[in-house]
């Protein structure tokens, strides 16, 4: 098993995963395309995400047989069948738990979790927040179509209040989760949002997520043309998008809109506000700090986004370094084995079984 150090101090998410050698054939999108017939509805946003991932995977330069995609249940969770890697289509909501065991047992694998808004935030909410807080080395793609697709259109934990669906004929009364706020609240070390239709942005976020060592949560706004069509249309119309999308860049002042005319400042009461840049000095603009260990400002940014999608920050909210659960667990095991001068022997086992108090019965 090769161990590659990414940056000098911070390990890459792919450290420990075997990379292609100079003699290995270059991988292409085709290598990552499985034979199974794709069964999503025509026009489903999942197609664009699949295409982006298949196109991006070869860039990683890692061995395809060391990639595993684990999913739960939902339209989105069919994803592994279409990727020609190892794949595990599990049960509803439990993919983060299963992936935690897999990653902990196998440091040489690059493990992805693909999940939906219902899968990750309803039935699997508990597993998601615990994977994030533990910082398991996983890339989690949360396909958020703000609806239950596979069960044919009930509202989900990200559906806007008042949503009319099959199960809420007079409107849902639930307050939704904001997945980014939730992940930041769980102190995930990498939190980002992107859009199914923006291939370039999606790819750039995925690249950063995979290279991050630890739990990387990527929320992908995904259109479900059948049960929640147009949920993100305002972010796809060129003019509307310009007025609403706030593209976050670490270390840059937060500006958006036509000619960067709008910006984000911290108001006197400490909250974040959207202003006309002209009305404030440029120095007053908030500089995005994705690396701040304190998630408070990143959280405040996630709250700019209202249900109406009036201001939608896109990009990497947070990227901080913290030891991963799986690395720490393995270090304890290997530390114990080193202290033992190697893995336990037959004699070690015999000593364990005997314990401290034994007696002998002679023939």
């Amino acid at each position: 098993m090769t161990t590659e150090l990414g940056m000098p101090t911070v390990l890459s998410g792919l450290a420990g995963v075997p990379h292609l050698g100079p003699d290995d054939a270059k991988q292409t999108r085709k290598d990552f395309t499985a034979g199974a017939e794709v069964r999503w509805c025509p026009g489903c946003g999942d197609y664009a995400i699949l295409a982006a991932v298949q196109g991006f995977m070869p860039e990683l330069g890692i061995k395809r047989e060391n990639v595993v995609c684990v999913s739960g249940i939902g339209c989105s969770s069919r994803f592994p069948y279409y990727l020609d890697t190892y794949g595990l289509h599990s049960i509803h909501g439990r993919a983060p738990a299963i992936a935690t065991g897999l990653v902990t047992a196998r440091p040489d694998l690059n493990v992805w979790v693909v999940t939906g808004d219902g899968d990750a935030l309803s039935i699997g909410g508990n597993h998601l927040i615990h994977a994030l807080r533990r910082n398991v080395n996983l890339t989690i793609l949360l396909f958020n179509n703000r609806i239950y697709g596979l069960t044919k259109g009930q509202y989900s934990p990200t559906s806007e209040p008042g949503k009319i669906t099959k199960s809420t004929p007079v409107g849902s009364v639930d307050t939704p989760f904001n997945p980014i706020s939730l992940a930041l609240g769980a102190e995930a070390t990498f939190v980002a949002r992107t859009l199914d239709s923006d291939r370039k942005h999606l790819t750039s976020v995925l690249r950063q997520a995979v290279e991050h060592r630890g739990s990387a949560l990527v929320e992908i706004y995904q259109n479900c043309p059948i049960f929640n069509d147009g949920a993100f249309d305002v972010l796809k119309d060129r003019d509307e998008a310009q007025a609403r999308l706030i593209r976050l860049e670490h270390g840059e002042p937060i500006r958006f809109g036509v000619d960067g005319a709008r910006g984000v400042v911290r108001a006197a009461d400490g909250t974040l506000q959207v202003v006309d840049v002209a009305s404030v000095s440029e120095e007053a603009l908030l500089v995005h700090d994705a690396q701040n260990p304190n998630p408070a400002t990143q959280f405040a940014l996630s709250r700019l986004d209202e249900e109406t999608l009036s201001h939608v920050p896109l990009g990497v909210f947070r990227k901080v370094s913290r030891p991963t659960y799986d690395d720490l667990v393995r270090a304890q095991v290997s530390g114990a084995q080193e202290a033992n001068n190697g893995p336990a022997t037959d004699d070690d086992l015999a000593a364990l079984l005997a314990g401290r108090d034994t007696w002998t019965v002679a023939d």
Binding site: E65, T100, G101, A105, V329, P343, L349, L352, T358, T360
Partner: protein, 637 residues
């Protein structure tokens, strides 16, 4: 430290000492407040007894509350030990000696103590206030209420405080050592060695010299008290029990089970990954395994039982031996994932240490009521091999067997222990590591043809185990029905019918040894058959019945799914079949349904193991019902 008591360095006395009486077995129950350290006292006494070569069995019994109010009935904790110069099958039906550290302990346990037996009471705790707490208006030690028993009133607390007065401890701290005083006294009374306890205290309190000194002094003072007091005229000796030669230790079921898993990992060459969520009475397995890292054991304390089994299954998918440990309520949560493991056909060991149910039930008490949950508690046709250990030490072998079946057949396996096995203990003859089963596993190999993850071994019907990382074996599987062979998604009706039958056939075909019958006279007409921890009481009960002239055969089912192939033949060989269970007849239901035999249940769900006497009575009444056996009621041995 100054020797405050006259304990001889070699504490065994001369065998011809007239003050020593030889007996063949005794049952002692230590009872006190949860804070009195009765479990530790029992454990130590057990260790000394084990090291003398007596056979033994123990039954700890403690409240679910960590510290119920002091001095109350719900706060009583007890530890029963049965030891003998012959083989011991149960912790004993009733104590011969009750050590009662306070009025609550006396009141809670007196009902179990046959008249004429011995009570040692700590009179210091029989204060007005403590008596009132349990509804005594006067002290039963003084008002004649205990006339029918042999009572030894001992002011244990004040004697302890007196023995420790030079240590400058507070009265409260001194009082804490009273359990060691009691232990010392009992060690004298039954001629137990003291070195082990001294060694134990040295390791336990080595870093706190004053506490160590106080405990040692209390222990020795208790011993000396027995030696010098008129009250105890004789002490007792119980000769070692004959046992096969070898090295022995005493072991509880939970420890044996954890060690079995470690040994299985070692013998397979694969890492063990345990996913677990704490629950009584299974948590000790998690505790034990979390200290086994040098054996390549990884433990993940998950956020809930679903996550715990998920992590274990994920690890199995990755080529490790995934294990999850729990009790009944946790098993309920794991059902869906067990179903996934059935469908994925991956090895997985699920340990259920059964406790009283339903719901939270009786967390610290034993029961066998999860058998049907283990067999059928999942959606769909979802067969899973089920194995149950029969005694604390057998948990070791049963755990190895569970791993063997799981890895050989690529299937989840349910291992059904229970609270009695978990905390009870018995002597265990240490196996030689080289004699343990070879559990070597072959993973799928790189190949030229397209990989078919659901091709089966014609012998075992197991599919290949193909952890990620091998070029050319990339494949995708899940809980959706898979096409036979290719493993691709399939909704084809005939394929589903075939796959359901294949999974069933695979489990039905697990190689289990034939059912053995113990029928000393060879002409019994009654068969008693059981499973799990009722093994001891059934064997002991049959022994009693046989002594009374009843011809009875016994059999024990270690494998509950599949049953041994000869089970039906065995059942049909007997006119009457009795199935004692600590549930309302779950094995009986399975055997009656599968073999169409008129087996009768003998059922009890009191959170306690059966006594041998009640089993003997049940055997006798079934054997003599309608005149059967009446002719043969003469002594057989």
């Amino acid at each position: 430290m100054e020797d405050t008591a006259a304990v001889p360095a070699d504490s065994s006395r001369q065998p011809n000492d007239s003050r020593i009486r030889q007996i063949d077995s005794v049952v002692i129950r230590f009872a006190g407040d949860s804070g009195d350290g009765m479990q530790l006292t029992g454990d130590r006494f057990t260790a000394e007894t084990a090291s003398m070569g007596n056979d033994l069995a123990t039954l700890p019994n403690f409240p679910a509350e960590i510290r119920a109010p002091q001095g109350t009935l719900p706060g009583v904790s007890s530890f029963q030990l049965h030891f003998a110069d012959h083989d011991v099958l149960t912790p004993g039906d009733a104590p011969d000696v009750l050590v009662a550290m306070n009025p609550a302990a006396l009141k809670a346990n007196l009902g179990d103590l046959p008249r004429g037996k011995t009570i040692i009471v700590n009179t210091d705790e029989f204060t007005k206030r403590n008596l009132a707490k349990v509804g005594y208006s006067a002290s039963p030690v003084e008002d004649g209420a205990l006339e029918s028993w042999q009572v030894h009133p001992v002011p244990l607390t004040s004697l302890t405080v007196e023995a420790l007065k030079e240590f400058g401890l507070s009265r409260k701290d001194s009082e804490r050592s009273k359990n060691m005083f009691a232990l010392g006294l009992l060690c004298w009374l039954y001629n137990r060695p003291t070195e082990g306890t001294e060694r134990f205290l040295n390791t336990k309190f080595g870093r706190r010299p004053e506490i160590l000194a106080a405990n040692l002094a209390a222990f020795k003072a208790g011993w000396a008290f027995g030696e010098t007091t008129e009250g105890f005229a004789v002490s007792y000796e119980i000769a070692p029990a004959p046992a096969p030669s070898g090295t022995y230790r005493n072991i509880t079921g939970n420890t044996a089970l954890a060690y079995g898993l470690v040994a299985a990992g070692h013998r397979s060459g694969l890492p063990i990954v345990l996913g677990s969520y704490p629950i009584t009475p299974a948590s000790d397995i998690l505790h034990a395994l979390s200290g086994m890292k040098k054996f390549g054991v990884t433990t993940i304390q998950a956020e809930d039982e679903i996550s715990a089994i998920g992590a274990a299954l994920g690890a199995s998918y990755g080529g490790a031996i995934g294990v999850t440990t729990t009790s009944g309520p946790g098993l309920a949560l794991k059902s869906e994932t067990i179903g996934l493991a059935v469908s994925l056909e991956l090895p997985l060991v699920i340990v259920d240490v059964q406790r009283g149910g339903p719901s939270t039930g009786l967390p610290t008490k034993t029961e066998q009521s999860d058998l049907l949950q283990a067999m059928y508690g999942r959606n769909g046709e979802s067969p899973v091999p089920v194995i149950a250990p029969r005694s604390p030490a057998d948990c070791f072998d049963a755990a190895i067997e569970a791993v063997r079946v799981a890895t050989k057949y690529r299937t989840p396996v349910l291992l059904l222990s229970d609270g009695y096995l978990a905390n009870g203990s018995e002597p265990w003859r240490l196996p030689a590591v080289a004699d343990l089963p070879d559990l070597h596993v072959e993973f799928a190999q790189k190949q030229d043809e397209a990989f078919r993850p659901y091709d089966r071994d014609p012998q075992t019907l197991a599919r290949p185990w193909a952890p990620p990382g091998v070029q050319g074996l990339e494949h995708r599987i899940g809980g959706i029905e898979k096409a036979d062979g290719t493993g691709e998604i399939s909704y084809d009706p005939d394929n589903h019918d075939k796959m359901v039958r294949l999974r069933q056939a695979k489990v039905d075909g697990v190689d289990v040894p034939p059912l053995e019958v113990d029928d000393p006279t060879g002409d019994a007409e009654v068969l008693v058959i059981g499973w799990g921890s009722t093994f001891g009481p059934i064997a002991a009960g049959a022994r009693v019945a046989r002594r009374n002239g009843i011809r009875v055969a016994t059999a024990h089912l270690r494998h509950l799914n599949p049953f041994p192939a000869n089970t039906g033949d065995v059942l049909r060989r007997y006119q009457r079949v009795l199935i004692p269970e600590m549930n309302l007849g779950q094995l009986a239901l399975l055997l009656r349904a599968k073999y169409l035999v008129d087996a009768r249940g003998y059922n009890q769900v009191r959170g306690l193991p059966f006594s041998s006497a009640e089993i003997a009575t049940a055997i006798t009444s079934l054997a003599t019902e309608g005149g059967l056996e009446l002719s043969s009621l003469e002594e057989t041995h």
